[in-house]
């Protein structure tokens, strides 16, 4: 073979090799980029539901419905639950929304701001319209509807799988033994705490790791002292968190921390530990939402006995514009439905949920939802009855500290709350930090 022929053969081989490499890399690229792109409207094959790992109630209640009252809907569109840790939910939602691949039903983000963003880009179904069309809008508790609308800029973006009011749970027995009356005002609350501390009982348990159980005290104080629109004014830019009246609220909460009323190392206390401190009788008071009723009713967790737990509204502030019957309320983790996959089968599921979820959740899981309870359910204990009565009689609700904040301000507020009560941040610094995060847009 001549050398020329050899060179030609080698060139051919080189070209072939290059071509193979090229084709291989292009096909690799194509596979990598071929995500789950979507069109404008799709027919779902499953009633897919993306939830957070921490929340088991909704998942379990939906599963029991799928075997019971919602069997026909389940047969047409089987329920499929996927969970992610709550801390990574927002990220997952953003990525899924970016790929136009949101599931049929999904937990709607940790801050309402994200849900509104999804709504603005047309990813979230208008549930008021859809539920009215299905003829089941009247199955929702009006209080829950108004809470949702207050959260999501007047829109019904999520279903009220939970409906919670918040307040202070207290250990009746400890109060009785030490001759303390249930406090009705902030000053009485402080006195009660001082007395408990003096008697060697930790007055409050709170999770500084979560942060929100502490910032809820600030919003509670603000709503009582400045009225129910105190935080709306901040959201609208009519007031600043650094205004003296707002800093005063942070000051009051910081003072409780300074006196050691939250116990040692509050920043390291996680949610379960805080709950456990109260339910094991180590702490006398516990600011929490009514979802804690499930834990209170559980004899394994609750060592003080459900009959010894009382519920107090957030106390009044002398000379304040707010009143104690304005309860902070929320719908737990809001659960939204995707606009593009809301078809007949999804509708069947939703209307079945609207009619049956309320009683199933209450009966099987001790959880209060924003759906009407259509089958009579006997309450597990006295404090559950008290909370349910409070919900049905409450006239006006208020939101929580971060409800109208951006995702960033929410994180900043909750991660700095422990610093506020442990004294490493002054009330002025805390409010300034949060206000700066609010302004950064």
């Amino acid at each position: 073979m001549s050398s020329r022929a050899l060179v030609t053969r080698r060139t051919h081989r080189t070209r072939l090799a290059l071509l193979t490499t090229g084709v291989a890399s292009i096909s690799l690229l194509a596979t990598a980029c071929g995500g789950t792109g979507g069109g404008t409207s799709t027919t779902p094959k499953e009633f897919s539901y993306l939830s957070v790992t921490e929340n088991t109630t909704v998942k379990n209640a939906l599963t029991s419905l799928s075997k019971g009252a919602c069997k026909p809907a389940q047969e047409a569109l089987p329920l499929k639950v996927e969970t992610v840790p709550q801390a990574s939910l927002d990220q997952k939602l953003q990525l899924l929304a970016g790929q136009d691949a949101l599931p049929v039903q999904f937990a709607a983000g940790n801050a309402p701001a994200l849900t509104q963003q999804l709504e603005n880009s047309g990813k979230v179904a208008d549930l008021e319209g859809e539920l009215t069309k299905l003829g089941v809008f009247d199955q929702l508790e009006p209080a829950a509807v108004s809470t949702i609308k207050a959260l999501y800029g007047g829109k019904m973006d999520v279903l009220p799988y939970e409906y919670n009011i918040e307040g202070i749970f207290y250990n009746k027995k400890v109060f009785e033994v030490h001759g303390i009356k249930a406090p009705g005002t902030w000053a009485e609350l402080r006195d009660a705490a001082a007395k408990l501390e003096a008697e060697g009982i930790q007055p409050f348990s709170a999770s500084g790791q979560q942060g929100w159980p502490l910032t809820r005290l600030i919003s509670g104080y603000l709503h009582r002292s400045l009225g129910p629109d105190a935080l709306q004014k901040v959201a609208d830019g009519k007031a600043k968190l650094t205004d003296p009246a707002y800093v005063k609220a942070a000051q009051e909460v910081a003072d409780l921390g300074k006196k050691g009323y939250f116990g040692k190392g509050v920043g390291s206390i996680d949610y379960d530990t805080a709950m456990n401190q109260f339910l094991s009788g180590k702490a006398a008071m516990f600011y929490m939402g009514s979802w804690a009723l499930a834990n209170i009713a559980d004899g394994k967790q609750n060592k003080v006995g459900a009959e010894n737990v009382g519920f107090l509204p957030f106390p009044a502030v002398a000379g304040g514009k707010g009143s104690v019957d304005q309860y902070p309320s929320n719908v737990g983790l809001g659960i939204a439905l995707s606009e593009k996959s809301f078809d007949k089968n999804t509708g069947a599921w939703v209307s079945c949920i609207a009619k049956n979820y309320g009683s199933t959740a209450l009966k099987d899981h001790g959880a209060i939802s924003g759906f009407k309870v259509n089958t009579e359910v006997k309450d597990a204990n006295e404090v559950t009855t008290q909370v349910r009565d409070t919900i049905s009689s409450s006239k006006q609700n208020v939101l929580w500290f971060e409800a109208l904040f951006s995702t960033k301000a929410t994180t900043v507020s909750q991660t700095n709350a422990a610093g506020l009560v442990s004294g490493s941040l002054s009330p002025q610094q805390f409010m300034q930090t949060v206000q700066d995060a609010l302004a950064a847009k």
């Binding site: 890399s25 929304a97 970016g98 880009s121 920043g267 390291s268 951006s406 991660t415």
Partner: protein, 294 residues
Amino acid sequence: MHRVLGDRRAIAILLGPALLVYTLIMLVPMAWSLGYSFTRGNTIDGFTGNGVANFSRLLADPAVRDALWFTLKYAAAVTVGQVVAGYLIALLYVFFLKRASALVRTLVFFPVVLPTVAVGLLFQKFFQVAPQTGPVNSLLNAVGLESVDFFGSAGSAFWVLVVMDIWRSMGFYAVLLFAGLVDIPEETLESARLDGATGLRLVRHIVLPLSLPVLLSSLIFSINGTLKVFDSIVALTGGGPGNGTTPLTLYMFQTSFTYSEYGYGSTIALLLTVVCLLVSLAVYRVSRRDLTEG
């Protein structure tokens, strides 16, 4: 061999695939991220041009200043700690433990193979004050001191982080430096000893200069790793209290993925790249000069 390497096509075939993969997974994302730093928006709302607004925000953002300062402080403390502790342990292996060092080497190296999250949790429990008093606080109580909430203030949380990361990685640097130390010819050491150099003087005048190249490599390794620290901080403090222990990497991650400001996140990433580049260049310069002298 020369004919193959002299052929441009052969070079293309040999380098092509690696270069292609490198371009696709390193250079393209880098250029892409640079492009994002001139935009605002996220995957839901879409991206729009934003000019240099992200850069002016970067300059004015106090959180960036805090994070940058923390990153540098942390990198300096941990790098010095890791390399010094590693060097001391390596000296111990070579001059004191000698052949018996295998078991100690394994034990000291052990934390390197532990997952960071596990180490983070271990130290969290070790230094905790609530719900249970951890061993460190128990010790403080035993000698009559008050418990300290180590994770309650940025200052003490920083030192716990530094201690944890030094403990976690000194075994690695010890092995690295050990390899450098055993390379020092025995004759050189012997003649130095005959000349009367012992103990500290031997280390100062003979061992240190001869192990300088490997010491500098360790330094480069360490500083680049510590500037990009992420996992150990997330595992131990989560950047808290507040943003007291938030390095640039974590702030970048939060900005992009928690606050969904991808454009600004990319700008922070660019800052981090520039910092890494500057530090690496500086260390390279120093090391090159010293290598030629040595």
